[in-house]
Symmetry: C2
Subunit: 242 residues, 2 copies
Amino acid sequence: MTTVLKLGGSVITDKNDPETVAEETLRRAASLLAEEEDIVLVHGGGSFGHHHAAEYGVSTTDGTGDTEAIRIIHGAMHRLNTAVVDALAEAGSPAFPIHPLSAASRDADGELSLPTDQISRMNREGFVPVLHGDVVVHEGAGATILSGDELVVALATALDADRVGVCSAVPGVYDADKNVIDHIDTFDDVADALGESEATDVTGGMAAKVRELLALDAPAYIFDIDGLDAFLADKNPGTRID
Amino acid sequence: MTTVLKLGGSVITDKNDPETVAEETLRRAASLLAEEEDIVLVHGGGSFGHHHAAEYGVSTTDGTGDTEAIRIIHGAMHRLNTAVVDALAEAGSPAFPIHPLSAASRDADGELSLPTDQISRMNREGFVPVLHGDVVVHEGAGATILSGDELVVALATALDADRVGVCSAVPGVYDADKNVIDHIDTFDDVADALGESEATDVTGGMAAKVRELLALDAPAYIFDIDGLDAFLADKNPGTRID
């Protein structure tokens, strides 16, 4: 019974203030997650990753060979990951960092190679791996962004996850009247209602999230921090996508 | 033409003084390595890793499920790796960290799973991956030590390396009269002369190094920091093992 849960960058950071952790929300999430096992955590970049990536023109497809740019983007995401893992550890979670730059890469077609032996073994030993959006080496392109959303999809698939959660800045996917949609089973139903997120996000907005989550075997949920408790209790907060 | 080079923990740290980098030697090594490509670097633990591992009773075979112990050992090795990567970057090397805890693991028999797509792709993109001795998750045992020496052997094998270097605290393997042996081709020739290293080393001394290097296809060299320049110039410093 493996769960993959993403804590959105806009949840755990102040997305409009460079490299600022949303301390109170992070502590709240960590406290809810303290006793969880059989869970793989992923977090996004928020104000740590996105503006650096945008500044250097690096995206999931546009690479860079500029080693300083790679170091700056990775360094910022690494600092955020340390804050997240430290908050979890302080709450009592057996959390350990997994830095994608150390493990993952892309081939010349952009296809992701993400080894997961270490991740599933951590879970089986009672540990909680915590991955994050990062730069990864990309054959022929230097390095490109591996987003938290892409990680969620890749992990859910590779680990054959039973449930996927995306804890986001919004309580679910909104319809055209700003009401949370309870259930999405095809993209066409919501195509008109979905815009893009407002702040800089090199890794795509809600439309891309929904498309990727629809492609998964496991049911996925999009909810905000107020829905995290219900998600962890196997309830159905926010929008269910499957 | 891939080279795997280990910078011994006793070379880049003061092995008897906890968590102290040998700044001058590290800068010297970084300056010699600044222009190198097609090289995979590994460093040992020295005074950062070994005493923590010993304190918590963790070795390459004795594991721990104590998350604090794992965090302390990994954290110390991570700090040393950051010092090494920073020194290399400052010298102009396109060096990036690879943290084994993020990528590698052991199965229940202790067999190492070490994915190397990301490592060979870094090399092909002109980057220099820098790995380090670390704790890694170990099925059924929590986490155990993955030593720099084991990494060298695993990387040389997986990457089909052409040359292997071990930059050590001594200028080569000594015979019974403390003269450096020029060439070792069987362990029996040197079994009597090989002792263990003096300071705490949970990951084995010179005898284990020689045994493991003999098992490689590639020629391996053991030398000290004064031999690093010659090794990088394709000469034969210290002791050649093959």
